[in-house]
Symmetry: C2
Subunit: 335 residues, 2 copies
């Protein structure tokens, strides 16, 4: 069996990440990732009538850019795996409608980038497809009004609050081609630290990232030094610092040398005050499909472990007093 | 490649459906499926403080019953694939928390039963797991207040409206064992007929079911007569009748002999007036994991094609004037 240890899956022929596409909103365009974005929108609405329509436009655009770069058409794609934060993952469903490709909706909240790559790699290596596209997105406006308050309300953000990234990312995985390869996939369990505060999601998600990281090391015999870079998706400042402590305490691993969180790699901390950092499905998608993909292709890093994290609550579960459970999926991407 | 035609996937060693578990609410217990249910709850709340908590209790219970029947523990499960209708699929996430099993959230609305079985079969046959559990659920109370109106409002239902099934179903798929096998999986594209009425979902979903059915026949060289029974998930009375016409017109296939819709197989039409029929993720889950599974195990039917359908809208997309896109995934289950 192509399973290593209890939660890690190892493709026999690691699929290639042959192309990516990333688009983002105006605020993200003024951040430090600018030069790695394929398109930056001038306004949050992206010329559409609503934030939700804008988000769909972004996911579709990222997906088409990704296809164009690889000189592929939607007709050549065997399967589209996508997910997002909106209720009933409408962004993904409406994008799949436009692409007219066989579609499986996935939901891992902000862990969707890793979930899509990981699941895509399993299906490709299983011999079921030759080309799989994955996509994910988030939008500050649509997420704020769904999860918290409409942006027009102008509530004061707490120091732990994170800023939902506006943007979308897509990647094409293929059995053959050029590009970095997906070598290992560690699928996470759901964890609950007892956190109830939706303005402190980094803390709620850190234990899930910790468990997936430690399990990845246990399953593979690898350690932090086997990677040039270990990334989490959107733990932000507070969750990221907590993770470093947890991993040291629970597993004895030192993350202080080569760890970073995608949520700290998007905005310009000097000029853009986003409090706890960035969050949302697009956080890891922009960083990994944009910046890291470029680094891997140029050989500036060789082995990257992405552990994308997702908070699995809803506004309803929060209002009913439930804790915020979280999950993290790990994907090793190697040049 | 283990792909047949453009949308159908064929496992080399078709995985076994070694066990199922189904639980339902009181109204469903008074329907015609009663003797095939593992547990019927006395009230909609299932002893919990909210409809949402009740739905989670039901999915967890169905999953545990399913495991018990196969004398398996959650520790033996490689992967849990689950999805539901609630925002951010909280039922599935909270159930995965209790089971403490590696988890991938999926979203296909009411097509989730087929999506879970199909995806599970691909991962198993790909050599990545030996035991995969899938689950789905829906709940009349939680779905009504999320998608339409709170039940306390007492609005008058239209003739086309369908009744959301309260219940949950789970299935265990294994590389080795006894039971019916998943032989073919046809993954659907998203379709949009231009329907905007959330009280007429059967009509919105019929074209997706039609496309998946015709593609399944084209990909495999099979026709309706190759199956003892062809089932859709929850097209109901109106959508089902439309499907029969569409499939005849678009593909020249006659479904009049061995076709039924799960939404017409749950309630007692003499005594339970549910207008257009049943709907919800639990519609196909109760019928297929309960009734059909028994028929297959007893050899009373040998080849069944389930085409489960899902409407991919959200209340937000509806309010913003968008059409209701739909998807359908097909799974051939053979004794």
């Amino acid at each position: 069996m192509k399973k290593v240890g209890s939660q890690t899956f190892k493709p026999q022929n690691p699929p290639y990440l042959i192309s990516t596409g990333v688009v983002a909103g105006p605020f993200e365009g003024r951040g430090i990732l600018n030069e790695y974005l394929d398109h930056v929108y001038d306004d949050l609405n992206a010329g559409q009538s609503s934030y939700e329509a804008a988000e769909k436009h972004m996911m579709l655009n990222a997906s088409l850019i990704c296809l164009n770069k690889a000189r592929k058409t939607p007709e050549e794609v065997d399967l589209f795996l996508a997910g997002d934060l909106l209720n009933q993952t409408i962004t993904s469903g409406f994008t799949a409608l436009e692409l007219a490709v066989p579609y499986l909706g996935i939901y891992g909240a902000c862990a969707t980038s890793a979930q899509g790559m990981g699941l895509g790699a399993l299906i490709l290596d299983g011999g079921y497809a030759s080309l799989i596209q994955t996509a994910t997105s988030s939008h500050y406006g649509s997420a704020e009004r769904q999860y918290r308050y409409p942006t027009e309300y102008g509530y004061q953000r707490r120091p732990t609050a994170q800023w939902t990234v506006t943007g979308a990312g897509s990647a094409l995985l293929a059995v053959e081609g050029k590009g970095p390869r997906i070598t290992l996939i560690t699928l996470g369990k759901v964890w609950d630290l007892g956190i109830k505060d939706p303005f402190n999601l980094g803390t709620a998600m850190a234990p899930a990232a910790c468990q997936t990281l430690i399990q990845h090391f246990a399953d593979t015999g690898r350690g932090p030094r086997d990677y040039d870079l270990i990334l989490t998706g959107d733990l932000g400042k507070i969750g990221g610092a907590l993770l470093v402590q947890l991993v040291e305490k629970e597993g004895g691993f030192n993350l202080r040398e080569n760890y970073n969180d995608c949520g700290m790699m998007i905005y310009d901390r000097e000029k853009q005050d986003v409090h706890g950092g960035a969050s949302g499905c697009a956080s890891s998608a922009l960083v990994v499909f944009g910046y890291i993909y470029r680094l891997l292709k140029e050989g500036r890093v060789k082995k990257v472990l992405l552990v994308a994290t997702g908070a699995l609550h809803s506004p309803t579960s929060f209002q009913q007093g439930e804790n915020i459970p979280a999950i993290a999926h790990g994907v090793s991407i190697e040049a």
